[in-house]
């Protein structure tokens, strides 16, 4: 592949509510065994992008733990590798990343010292599979300066929380509005961009000189009249998880056979850090239906329409319905949980009741003492 990768994983989203207290969005657990950033890293690895930089800033502990080895995504190579860039102070700079463009600017040496002619930029909060080399081919064929991968969120998500784009017949973006008050279309930017490396360096240097720090607002939107900015429409599954509702819905999508088959059975695979957990165990009295169960779980109660992440313990006579239970949660006996997201490493006491009322998703953060079994 003739591109290096940049993953923008520094962000926080207030729409994630309490879930973002613990970790960056890119580190959110997805579909039982994965984290959000696995999808972009796997797509990059599967597109033969060998050199990838991940920019982290907000609450990066979980993310750094997850990225502690590059071998899971096959980046640990002599040529290329996985680089994690967190803000550092230097004689010239003492700022945090003031925006996405500033993050790239502060690590511009990474781009300057690369020899690949193109750059693929992607965010860490998208759930999809994509062969970036197809986007690059399109980018070259259109003689574009910037290519933005777009998706149609009609009937699925609220377009006004994305950048909404309109294109002409050739696919050139003529209108690009970031988080409009009311959206007059459902074609949105996925936060995946392809650009020529020298072009990007030039634009970033110029923007920072003018004290502009946002990649979308200050570069793509600002230059769309003078540069050729194209849309590459993605027609396969794509979902952004940066709000509680979309996070919940994206996870629940994996209960559908077609979504599961697309991600888990069709080539290429999605990779993640391997945690060496034993197989899931169903004890007498367990009753599980229409659910995803990950390794290391021990189930004694009822689970229906839910996703159990790794190492979840469900006590006797529990009832878990339409809920997401994140990693390493202990649920005591006789507990009822419905329409909830239970935060990882929670310990839920016996005989408690958590219900998200009126179809609203409730986030449960419960730190009780856990006595080791």
């Amino acid at each position: 592949m003739r591109a290096v990768g940049i993953v923008l994983a520094g962000g926080n989203s207030s729409r994630m509510k309490e879930l973002s207290n613990k970790r960056a969005v890119a580190a959110m657990p997805i579909a039982g065994g994965y984290r959000s950033i696995d999808f972009v890293l796997s797509s990059m690895s599967n597109s033969h992008i060998q050199k990838v930089a991940v920019f982290t800033q907000y609450n990066a502990k979980s993310l750094n733990e997850h990225l502690n080895s590059s071998k899971w995504w096959d980046f640990g190579r002599k040529q290329g590798g996985l680089y994690v860039f967190t803000p550092t102070t230097t004689p010239k700079n003492s700022y945090w990343y003031r925006g996405t463009a500033d993050a790239i600017a502060q690590n511009l040496d990474f781009l300057k010292n690369s020899h690949e002619p193109y750059v693929v930029i992607a965010s860490g909060d998208g759930i999809y599979k994509l062969d970036y080399s197809k986007v690059l081919e399109y980018h070259i064929a259109k003689k574009a300066d910037f290519t933005v991968v777009t998706a149609d969120v009609l009937g699925r998500d609220d377009p006004s929380r994305f950048g909404v784009v309109r294109t002409d017949a050739d696919g050139r973006i003529i209108d690009f509005e970031e988080k409009p008050i009311s959206a007059d279309g459902s074609q949105v930017s996925t936060g995946i961009y392809v650009v020529r490396r020298r072009q990007l360096i030039e634009l970033i240097e110029k923007a920072v000189e003018e004290e502009r720090y946002d990649l979308v607002k200050d570069i793509i939107i600002r230059y769309k009249g003078v540069k050729r900015v194209y849309a590459y429409p993605l027609d396969t599954y794509w979902s952004n998880i940066s709000s509680v509702d979309s996070y919940f819905r994206t996870n629940m999508d994996f209960l559908k056979a077609d979504v599961r088959n697309y991600f888990f059975k069709e080539y290429p695979d999605v990779y993640s850090k391997v945690e060496d957990l034993p197989p899931a165990k169903y004890n007498s009295g367990s009753f599980v239906k229409n659910s995803l169960v990950s390794s290391g779980c021990i189930i004694n109660g009822n689970v229906d329409g839910s996703i159990l992440f790794k190492k979840v313990y469900v006590g006797n006579n529990c009832s878990i319905k339409n809920s997401i239970i994140l990693n390493d949660v202990y649920i005591g006996d006789n507990t009822h949980i419905e329409n909830c997201i239970v935060e990882s490493r929670d310990t839920i006491r016996a005989n408690t009741n958590y219900v998200g009322e009126d179809g609203k998703i409730r986030i449960v953060v419960e730190k009780n003492e856990r006595y080791a079994l």
Binding site: G32, P278, K281, K289, S295
Partner: protein
């Protein structure tokens, strides 16, 4: 100069013929266990958990699966700059070439591998038991006893001791006598086939006995050391240790993992067992599924019923199918409305719809009654079973079978159906 205090030599070349069709194409240490593991994962994990980071794995019989499973040792953290895991197959030499003719002969043929690491102690392991053991504690005992050789031993019920090689020790655990399968055992300490040798002692014995045909540790090396007056000690191990050498004991050991709190607990944080994970996606349990007492591996899809069973990774159980008291290894599929009872189904087996497995009378197997017993159905890797057939007890099937292989749609109890040569 490279220096490792203790290196391990893991004997993984045996066929394990008592596992019948399960080891037709794979060596016994590579047979699946407990849903997602393979038998060799237990000694390999024990090695790394004990701080032994240099392991030679001696292979001979059907090594492909072992080779691909072990690779460069990443799952066990045995990919090292110095040491790590090395696969050691028999090789051609300028003067003579031979297969590994016995356990000690195999080790002798790899003398140069051991010398490379300049060890003080060599740990000899087998690849056919399920256990968690800290070899470092055993080494401490070896050093404290100023032993030349230490055997790991386990107390067994005295009435069963006649099935084992037992040792008779003095009050300091120094071994006075050995008895191989004694009729009237005088001790209940059985040898586990795990040895620590002080390197010069092992080296001397291997060279001395290099012309011994089929040179074996139990039969030749240990008796030789004993005759030479070496200090041989018995280290007493008291944890879980399970031989899975027969289909009955293999099935039993798997079933014990399903108990509410298993004696051999894979869920403890301490002393993890590592394996090569090919799949990380979660398992799916469908609306109409029923699961009651089971362990199930990653990426399996369950639409039917599972009772009291061990299911591997990537297994598909179709709607209406019922699986009871059985072991289904990775990537196998069970067709609609098929009933599977007391069966051991190896990897990548496809079973059609409306079949009944393990039905009829308990008739001994006609070909190998001592292998295919315990009333089990055993199906080898990559087998295909057509729809609408009934399969009796104490049976074995291997290969791509079709309906014409089943007279009246039945494979009667005690029959063996092995289609050889049809698989490439």
């Amino acid at each position: 100069m490279i220096k490792k205090e203790m290196i391990a030599m893991l004997l993984a070349g045996g066929q394990g013929s008592r596992l019948g069709v399960l080891t037709a194409d794979v060596a016994k240490p590579a047979v699946s266990f407990g849903g997602k593991y393979r038998i060799i994962d237990f000694p390999l994990s024990n090695c790394i958990n004990s701080g032994v980071d240099t392991v030679g794995v001696l292979t001979q019989y059907q090594p492909l699966r072992l080779n691909t499973h072990i690779g460069i040792g990443i799952p066990w953290d045995l990919d090292r700059n110095v040491g790590g895991v090395s696969i050691l197959p028999p090789y051609e030499k300028s003067t003579s070439s031979e297969w590994y003719t016995g356990t000690a002969n195999a080790i002798f043929q790899n003398m140069r591998y051991m010398e490379l690491y300049n060890p003080e102690y060599v740990l000899i392991l087998g690849g056919d038991h399920i256990y968690k053991m800290d070899y470092e504690v055993m080494l401490d005992f070896h050093k404290a006893s100023k032993a030349d050789v230490t055997l790991a031993t386990i107390p067994v019920p005295i009435e069963e001791a006649s099935r084992f090689g037992v040792v008779i020790t003095d009050e300091h655990k120094q071994i006075q006598e050995f008895e191989e399968k004694p009729e009237h055992p005088r001790s209940n300490l059985a040898s586990m086939g795990i040895y620590i040798f002080s390197w010069p002692v092992l080296r001397e014995a291997l060279i001395k006995l290099k012309d011994q045909p089929s040179c074996d540790f139990g039969k030749h090396i240990i008796p030789y050391c004993h005759e030479q007056g070496r200090r041989i000690f018995a280290y007493e191990y008291n944890g879980y240790w399970k031989d899975v050498g027969t289909l009955g004991s293999y099935w039993q050991a798997n079933m014990e993992l399903i108990d509410l709190i298993p004696v051999f607990n894979l869920y403890e944080e301490f002393w993890k067992i590592y394996t090569k994970n090919e799949l990380v996606s979660p398992q799916f349990v469908a609306e109409e599924a029923v699961i009651d007492k089971a362990i199930i591996g990653e990426a399996s899809e369950i639409y039917g019923e599972v009772h009291n069973s061990v299911i591997g990774s990537g297994v598909y159980i179709a709607p209406g199918a019922v699986v009871r008291d059985s072991i289904i290894m990775s990537s196998s599929s069970i067709g609609e409305n098929t009933v599977v009872d007391r069966s051991i189904i190896a990897e990548k087996v496809q079973i059609g719809a409306n079949c009944i497995l393990c039905t009829g009378e308990d008739v001994p197997n006609k070909v190998k009654p001592d292998v295919y017993s315990f009333g089990l159905v055993t199906i080898g890797e990559d087998s295909i079973i057509p729809s609408n057939v009934k399969i009796g007890k104490n049976t074995a099937i291997s290969g791509e079978t079709d309906i014409s292989d089943y007279p009246d749609g039945i494979l009667a109890s005690g029959e063996t159906l092995i289609k050889v040569g049809e698989k490439i």
